[in-house]
Symmetry: C2
Subunit: 151 residues, 2 copies
DNA sequence: CAAATCCCTATTCATACAATAGGGTTTCTA
DNA sequence: TAGAAACCCTATTGTATGAATAGGGATTTG
């Protein structure tokens, strides 16, 4: 399983957003600087996440982005599919845009792809954005604690 | 989940091999023609599968390829990893060659990738080459049967 | 020895990913 | 009401990987 850079940035951005005070905006510039993401590239990504209904934006001075919904309600599948298109061929029919995985394959191979895709989706569905943000928080704290022993 | 063309061809080739009379060789040329695979490309693929110990070969007149082991003992994970490299980051340390998935990611994202990869692997491990060959056989029979109704 | 077959490396071609560029639009505030 | 700060949008460029082709070399068998 491999994530594109774009998806990785999207996840980072949303984890950042989830850790940001609720209801307040954050700016692309700061997010880009603090996470080592090219600013212009990040703009594209946030735009896609906005169109997917995961974040919303406020223009003008003092504007920026914020989560459109509470992080507990954002499944990680949804984030990944917003950027990469459908994970599983099964529900790819109703989805618009990209072509579904496992298209004109032979029956056996097609089934293999389908089962693997469904397994991915099930695994991803167990994680919400809130979980990811908490995980990141805890990792940061662990890092902090371990540093103390080294001094 | 997306398979590269190369992996797709590898699976097709091995399904073909599994359905071939046991212990007898088959030739690249026929395999390529019957499955619409570029012959030279297929040579590369079979070479990799040979180095992975999944098929073996016999040179010279009357030579060709054959399965190195019984199809019941070839997990589909093994086939896919022979071509694409390790699926899961966990066991990628001992594996040689390609760089593992989910490398320098942030902790939360890295964990997400790891869990999804393990889910893929578990799903793939439930299928052996023998299962794939049987599935393909049954699909072919279904196709045959349905054709009769159309006449 | 010659035909059939696998063996191996290098190169080209195509596509998708990653990033950059350049301006346009909206909103707020002084 | 001007202008700065922010998002909005499309197009283009660069780069890596995947897909395929090319050309000959090595082995075996009849």
């Amino acid at each position: 399983m491999r994530l594109s850079k774009k998806t990785e940035y999207a996840l980072k951005a949303l984890i950042y957003a989830a850790r940001h005070p609720e209801g307040t905006t954050f700016q692309i510039k700061e997010l880009a600087d603090r996470n080592g993401i090219p600013k212009k590239f990040l703009e594209l990504i946030l735009l896609e996440l906005k169109n997917a209904g995961i974040v919303r934006s406020k223009r003008g001075v003092g504007g920026g982005y914020l989560l459109a919904r509470r992080p507990e309600t954002v499944r990680s599948t949804e984030i990944i599919e917003a950027i990469e298109g459908p994970v599983s061929p099964a529900k790819a029919q109703q989805d618009s845009g990209r072509k579904p995985p496992g298209e004109g394959l032979s029956p056996a191979v097609s089934r293999l792809v389908r089962e693997a895709s469904e397994a991915i989706e099930a695994a991803l569905d167990r994680w919400t954005l809130a979980d990811l943000a908490r995980e990141e928080q805890e990792a940061a704290e662990r890092r902090q604690r371990n540093l103390m022993y080294f001094i």
